[in-house]
């Protein structure tokens, strides 16, 4: 489990909108499957969570599981482990001292624990299920 938090200097409604509507601005360039720092990343209400590179390539980054503005968001997350073995991110927003406390809880879902914990090659680009399965085998071989 990864637990982190940040203090955002804005109200809770704005904090939720900043997180969900301006993803392209806060998502680190170093962790974009496209390697394109100008790509557009979208988190759609109850739906798709994906990246569109300037050259038209699309990468699924996950899926929106729960969408409860402005307090709560749950995402299936493919970065690092691939769509066949998603992890889960719970994001909560709470008012605090004139701003908003943003909390992140990120954990592996059943089936992703090995990729989460073991020393495996890290792939920024999104994987498909075949590739993820291959990697599991390679990880086993390298143990």
């Amino acid at each position: 489990m990864i637990e982190k938090s940040a203090f955002l200097s804005c109200g809770i409604e704005d904090a939720f909108r900043l997180f969900t509507e301006r993803v392209s601005q806060w998502w680190p360039a170093s962790h974009r499957p496209s390697k394109d720092p100008s790509s557009i990343i979208s988190i759609e209400p109850h739906g798709r969570f994906w990246e569109l590179a300037a050259d038209g390539r699309e990468f699924d980054l996950g899926h929106v599981r729960q969408w409860e503005p402005p307090h709560h968001l749950v995402l299936d997350f493919y970065l690092g482990t691939g769509p066949a073995h998603p992890t889960e991110v719970t994001i909560t927003f709470a008012p605090e001292d004139g701003g908003t406390r943003l909390s992140i809880r990120h954990k592996p879902l059943p089936g992703a624990e090995d990729l989460w914990n073991s020393r495996a090659p890290v792939f920024a680009p999104s994987w498909d299920s075949i590739i993820a399965a291959l990697t599991n085998r390679v990880t086993d071989m390298l143990r």
């Binding site: 982190k4 200097s9 900043l18 690092g80 990120h106 989460w116 020393r119 090659p121 890290v122 792939f123």
Partner: protein, 95 residues
């Protein structure tokens, strides 16, 4: 070269496994496989392009070693992701 392409070959996976014991020279690696030295060099180049192996000189010997940065748990990769993302979110919220 994508890391997955780099490990999508049985010889390259076997080379990685051999390098887990420590750095080896091209000749040492070639001696363990029934393939030519140029072929081993080619596999090593692909592994390097995939970020999984790096050159390492040991005295006068030019060796190759597993590049640890290319191998890390997803947890660490995502931990770094959130540190960078949250710092940026805090910054953006001030504007």
């Amino acid at each position: 070269m994508h890391p997955l392409d780099a490990i999508g070959n049985p010889i390259r996976r076997a080379i990685l496994k051999n390098l887990q014991g420590g750095p080896l020279s091209v000749n040492e690696i070639a001696g363990r496989f029934p393939v030519s030295r140029p072929a081993i060099s080619r596999h090593l180049r692909i592994l390097m392009e995939g970020g999984l192996v790096e050159p390492r000189s040991q005295g006068k010997r030019n060796c190759y070693a597993i590049r640890l940065k290319g191998f890390q748990p997803a947890r660490k990769f995502l931990d770094e992701f959130w540190d960078a993302a949250l710092a940026r979110l805090e910054e953006l919220s001030k504007q």
